[in-house]
Structure formats: structure tokens, C-alpha cells
């Protein structure tokens, strides 16, 4: 049996094609990160190669080795160590091995974990297999959005959409399956924004929550502080982003969520906030800021994200971001 929290539709679709034996040669799993798209792709690969009555059994030698990435017929293609894209070389390897009959199982499965990152050439080369798929081959392309995929690739795959779960569903799962206390489950569920994978990982790894907590603490201090504290924060963040530019987007998304919470509190909808454990701080800051300033501030965050993606100087972009931010009203 395939199983994935909160994704009934894709699971049912795949189950049906398994039971009816009507397989598509290529699937496209689309949705935000941490929803279990790759997990389901691996399960599907197991099911296609497992002989149990309700595949996958998850226990036979084939299933185990597929899960460990040691199966000869199931290949997970993801980003290389340093490359920022999946190149034509990887696709050529797929094409070559796709034309060999399965080695030990029934079906060769290729899972491209970051299909958004296929280069144009790679995607075009992949069309060859998508157009004339050999027998016994299933391709699963996993990606965050359809926008970055060539229309020619999209049109040759069956697309399955994955949607974030509701906060209450995530909290329920955390309580039921991981025995997390209701309060903490609620906190994690809101932080996860419906991405169950993140929430489950965070229950197993306390440092994930601690790291978010620490970063929010810094954001709070920067907002509370004057220009000096804010520039110090910008300087520290810039040093961190120099090493890992991708983290900038994540960090600024935390800002966006924080500002959204402030707006919610200002509009009297404190029940919907994401950062549940910071409610009192949020209320204080909400009182000290004009709603119009907060709105402008969120626009600034978006502009900064865009600037960073366009390879702006990190330190400068963050300094400008801080300079344009409104200061809190004194005495609040």
C-alpha cells in the first residue's frame, strides 16, 4: 500500500494505476518542498518492483534496497555536490540505461528529484525518452512548480499536484504518531506551514526548532533595536549568506512570516499567527508600529529577496533593507 500523509489524491491515482496495471510512462510530482513527493516516488518505485499482494511491502530485499538507494533498477537523480543544475550528462546516462531491460526487478524507475533544475539541454534530451519510452521504464519528475519546466516536458507527463496540509492536520499527525504534546505540536504545525515533512523531521531533531527559534529571536531583537542593532544584525547575516546564498531567501521568508503575524495581530486575528510561542512579543510590536509601515516593510522584504536572487551585494542589500525599515514608536 502506498501511503503519504494528507496527499489522498495523488496516492489514490497511483494506487489505481497500479491495481489496473495501467501505468503512465512518466509522472510529474509538483508541489512545495517537504510534502513527501520524493518519498511517494520511492514508494511507487518499490511498488513497481515488489511482488507482495499489496505492494510495496517495504520489507522484502528489493523494497529495502530501493529505500537505501542500492537497487539496480531504481535510480534517484538529484543535484550533484557543487552543480546548480542537472546537466545533459545525467540525462544521457538515463537514456542509456533506460534501454536495457530491468536488471533484477520488473521496472526501471528513474526519479529526478529536482526536475526544476534540469538545464534546457538536459530537458530537451529527456524528451527523447519521454516521447518513445522503452517498455518497463517509468520516469518520475519531482519539482516545486510547473513554471520552470519546458512545456514539451510537461505535456508528456501525467501531472500529480501535492498540496500543503492544513495546520490542524499536521498538528494531529504529530500528536498521534510522534506523541508530541498538543502545545508543541501546534507550534511546529504552524511553523511548518503545512509541510508535513519539515514538521516530522523537527520532532525528531530538536535543533531544527531551536535554530528557527534562535533566528526569530534575532529578528525580534533587530526590530526592537535601533539602527545600530539592525546594522549589526545585517552584518552578521551578510557574513552567513556569503557562505550560503540560498539561506538568504529562507531567512527573509522568516521575516515575511513574522511581519504577517504582526499584521494579523494588528487586525485582531491573533489566533491565526504562525509564531505561536511569541504571541506577547508580537502584540508589543504590533502596538508600536503603524499598519501602513508594516505593509511597506513586507514589500521591502520581497524586494530584498528579489535583489539577492539577482546577485546583488548581500551586505548592501541588507543594509538598505534595514535603513528603510520603520523604527518602533518610543515607549511602546
Amino acid at each position: 500500500m502506498l501511503s503519504l500523509h494528507g496527499q489522498q489524491l495523488p496516492v489514490r491515482t497511483l494506487e489505481r494505476s497500479l491495481s489496473e496495471g495501467r501505468l503512465h510512462h512518466a509522472y510529474l510530482f509538483i508541489g512545495p518542498a517537504h510534502l513527501g513527493k520524493t518519498t511517494l516516488a520511492v514508494q511507487f518505485a518499490q511498488a513497481l518492483n515488489c511482488d507482495a499482494d499489496a505492494p510495496p511491502c517495504g520489507a522484502c530485499s528489493g523494497c529495502t534496497r530501493i529505500a537505501e538507494g542500492n537497487h539496480a533498477d531504481v535510480r534517484l537523480i538529484s543535484l550533484g555536490e557543487e552543480a546548480g543544475s542537472i546537466g545533459i550528462g545525467a540525462v544521457r546516462e538515463i537514456i542509456n540505461s533506460a534501454h536495457l531491460r530491468p536488471y533484477e526487478g520488473r521496472t526501471r524507475v528513474f526519479i529526478i528529484a529536482e526536475a526544476d533544475l534540469l538545464t534546457r539541454d538536459a530537458a530537451n534530451a529527456l524528451l527523447k525518452v519521454l516521447e518513445e519510452p522503452p517498455d518497463d521504464v517509468v520516469l518520475i519528475l519531482v519539482g516545486n512548480s510547473l513554471d520552470n519546466l519546458l512545456p514539451t516536458v510537461r505535456s508528456r507527463c501525467q501531472t500529480l499536484h501535492f498540496h500543503p496540509l492544513s495546520v490542524s492536520e499536521v498538528a494531529h499527525i504529530l500528536q498521534e504518531e510522534r506523541g508530541v504534546s498538543p502545545q508543541h505540536a501546534e507550534v511546529l504545525a504552524r511553523l511548518s506551514r503545512g509541510c508535513i515533512g519539515w514538521a516530522l523531521a523537527a520532532t525528531g531533531d530538536d535543533t531544527m526548532y531551536a535554530s528557527v527559534h534562535q533566528r526569530i529571536e534575532q529578528i525580534v531583537d533587530a526590530i526592537d533595536g535601533g539602527l545600530e542593532e539592525r546594522f549589526a544584525y545585517a552584518g552578521e547575516l551578510a557574513r552567513r549568506l556569503d557562505r550560503d546564498r540560498g539561506a538568504g531567501r529562507e531567512e527573509l521568508l522568516l521575516w515575511l512570516r513574522w511581519l504577517r503575524d504582526i499584521m494579523l495581530v494588528q487586525q485582531g486575528n491573533a489566533a491565526g499567527i504562525t509564531n505561536l510561542s511569541w504571541r506577547e512579543v508580537l502584540e508589543g510590536q504590533a502596538a508600536a508600529l503603524q499598519p501602513a509601515d508594516v505593509v511597506r516593510w513586507t514589500h521591502n522584504v520581497n524586494r530584498t529577496i528579489e535583489a539577492l536572487e539577482r546577485n546583488a551585494n548581500v551586505r548592501l542589500a541588507l543594509d538598505v533593507f534595514m535603513l528603510e525599515a520603520p523604527l518602533l514608536k518610543a515607549g511602546a
Partner: protein, 376 residues
């Protein structure tokens, strides 16, 4: 696992499975060799998921077991040892082994045998036997015509058709086609046509060193083929797809036919290739029944900036005068595998395929080469 074996046996065994050890790989464990005890012998296996090779060597086994070890490391170490009896033992903890000679001892880390991709075991299917020499010759003559890397994967393989006691090997890369017929020692139980990766067959050609019969088994699902000889088993995945219908590509008649001594033609081709190298590799052949004796073949090549060269060979020419140009590489490739003293070159026009075949081999081997278009 604990056993004693001879260094030279282990070294030889490792060199047999070496071609199947993966080089660039997505599955690191395929760079390992699987050592396992098997009915009083030590079995060595390697697979790169396209081809799997197993071989058995004599060993004095004290304790059964199995383990996988990085192939490169083990081979390098064993080859560095002198001829002697060596002791192989799995480490008491972890997945490694210790290999011990008279004066040296090495501990090599490995992984559990369960993680190794299963080596396919094949007993059922269409089976037959072929003499080792016949198989080696057939592979040798066709494998060069297979495409190395092609967008059409079927062309990177050799089509093998078993029909009664007849077997036909064929390979083509879009510019040339090699077809070789041979006899089987036992009739195949069923008529079957499969495409075997050319690389696998090159490996087998290297490993075959005797006339002993080779067992060939094609699985019932037509997914794998097994070659078994002496102490070696090679299992290869088959390539999916339909091989081009090559019979219609072989010209059935010819306007000109020249019979030339192989060694003279080879030498003249080599000479012409020197100039052809700078002239797009074009070698021009002109056949004429006139001239002294029974006819002549002129081989020429030229490179604009460099110079030119003309060679005249005695030939036995029938039919009209003929002109055709070939790539020097394709011509020298086929001459190097033809294996008879006399070779026949057949053609109709300078824009239709030329046929090269050995004389007096009963029509077993045919090689078709597409001509190059040149201004005469």
C-alpha cells in the same frame, strides 16, 4: 568466511571479473567485487548493472561466508604479492576482510554481501552451445561496426539471431554494417533474436581463450543472456528495441567486383590513410578490368594543403570500371578483421554501398560500407 587460496588464482580471478566492475557509477557498491564461498570453491562476482561476470577459483575453505570488497583495492594489493598461498578471512567486526601472505597482511574494509545487487541466476530459457573459437571469431568480426554512443541505443548492440543450428551476428552504426553467420553445436530450442551490448561481447572476446564449448542461454522474458564457459559466467542485460532490418541493406548484386590480396590492400590503405588524415579521411578506389593481367585497383588520397598519394595494386576485376570512396578508418577496420588471404570488393555505383567480404568463406561474413561523396 575463512579460506586459503593461491595468489595467482585469486589474481587471475580478479582480472576476469574486472571488466564488469563499474567505473563511473551511481551505485558505489558496484565498484566492489563479491567474494563468496560456493561448493568448495571461492566465487568472485562483479556487476556494473549492464553486465555481470562471475568466476570460480580453487580454494581451501575453512568457513563459509560472503563479503564485498572494493575491487580496485583488492586487485592492486593481491597483484603486489608474490606467488604464495594467501589466507582470506572476514574481520571479526565490521564488513571487512584480512588478506594475509607469508610476510604481509592487509585489512580491507568492505560491506555486507546483502547490499550487493543480486547476480542474476539463469537456468531457464532458450539455450544452445557454440564453440569458443567460433564465438570469438564472430564477435571479433562484427563488434567493430557497432555504434559507440548513439541516440539510437539499439545500434550500440550486436543483434544475435539463433535459428536451429544457425546463428547470425549483426552490428551497424548507420555508416557500416557487419553480418557474420556461424554454426551452433546444438540447435537452439527456439528461434530467438536479441540485442546484446557490444561492450559485453568485447569483454567475452577477451575472456575466451579456448575452443571449449560456450553455453548460451537467453532468458524466457528476453531480458538477459548468459554465456558460460570454463569457470566463467557472463550475464548481460539485453537492449530493448527492434534492430534495423539489415538484410535489405546488403546489396544483392554488383556491377564491379575486384579480388585483391589482403595484405597488399592493407598496406596500400595504410599508406593512403597518411594523406587522407588531412583530407577528411577520404580514400578513393578505382577498379578497372583493363591494364596488364586481369585488372588493377588504384588507391589514392589527397589533402589540399599537404599532398597526395596513389597506389596501384594487381587485382582480379570483373565487370565495368568502378570508382568509390570510403572513409580510411572504416576501410582499415574491416580489413583488420577479415582474416582471409583474399578479399573481394563489390560495388555498383559510387553513391551506393560497397560490399567487402572474404573470398572462399562460404558467404559467412559480409561487411557493407556507405561510400563518401567526392568529386571525381
Amino acid at each position: 568466511m575463512q579460506l586459503h587460496c593461491l595468489q595467482e588464482n585469486l589474481s587471475q580471478g580478479l582480472s576476469i571479473v574486472q571488466p564488469a566492475v563499474a567505473t563511473r557509477t551511481t551505485l558505489p557498491i558496484t565498484q566492489h567485487v563479491l567474494l563468496s564461498t560456493d561448493e568448495g570453491r571461492l566465487k568472485l562476482s562483479a556487476t556494473n548493472l549492464e553486465v555481470a561476470i562471475s568466476t570460480w577459483i580453487g580454494a581451501d575453505i575453512q568457513e563459509e561466508g560472503a563479503v564485498t570488497i572494493p575491487a580496485r583495492l583488492l586487485t592492486d594489493f593481491v597483484n603486489s604479492l608474490e606467488r604464495q598461498t594467501i589466507r582470506v578471512q572476514t574481520a571479526s567486526q565490521g564488513g571487512g576482510i584480512s588478506v594475509e601472505g607469508d610476510r604481509t597482511k592487509a585489512n580491507i574494509n568492505g560491506t555486507a554481501a546483502e547490499e550487493f545487487p543480486p547476480i542474476p541466476a539463469i537456468d531457464q530459457g532458450v539455450s544452445t552451445k557454440m564453440s569458443g573459437r567460433a564465438l570469438r571469431d564472430a564477435i571479433h568480426q562484427v563488434v567493430l561496426a557497432a555504434a559507440v554512443e548513439d541516440s539510437r541505443p539499439v545500434l550500440t548492440g550486436v543483434n544475435i539471431e539463433l535459428d536451429g543450428t544457425n546463428v547470425t551476428f549483426a552490428a551497424a552504426d548507420g555508416f557500416r554494417l557487419a553480418v557474420r553467420k556461424a554454426q551452433l553445436l546444438e540447435p537452439a530450442s527456439e528461434r530467438v533474436s536479441v540485442i546484446v551490448p557490444a561492450r559485453t561481447l568485447s569483454d567475452i572476446e577477451r575472456l575466451l581463450d579456448s575452443d571449449d564449448p560456450v553455453d548460451i542461454v537467453v532468458t524466457t522474458q528476453r531480458s538477459q543472456v548468459l554465456f558460460r564457459f570454463k569457470n566463467v559466467e557472463v550475464v548481460s542485460q539485453l537492449i530493448q528495441g527492434t534492430f534495423p532490418n539489415y538484410a535489405q541493406l546488403i546489396p544483392q548484386e554488383h556491377g564491379t567486383r575486384a579480388i585483391i590480396g589482403l595484405s597488399e590492400l592493407q598496406r596500400a590503405t595504410r599508406t593512403a590513410a597518411i594523406f587522407a588524415k588531412d583530407g577528411s579521411g577520404i580514400i578513393r578506389l578505382q577498379m578497372s578490368a583493363e591494364g596488364e593481367g586481369t585488372g588493377a585497383l588504384t588507391i589514392s588520397s589527397r589533402a589540399e594543403e599537404v599532398g597526395d598519394n596513389t597506389g596501384n595494386l594487381e587485382a582480379d576485376v570483373e565487370g565495368a570500371e568502378g570508382k568509390i570512396a570510403f572513409s580510411s578508418r572504416y576501410l582499415s577496420d574491416v580489413l583488420s578483421v577479415i582474416g582471409k588471404d583474399k578479399v573481394a570488393l563489390e560495388m555498383t555505383t559510387s553513391s551506393s554501398p560497397g560490399v567487402i567480404r572474404p573470398v572462399d568463406d562460404g558467404g559467412e561474413y559480409v561487411h557493407v560500407v556507405m561510400p563518401m561523396f567526392v568529386q571525381w
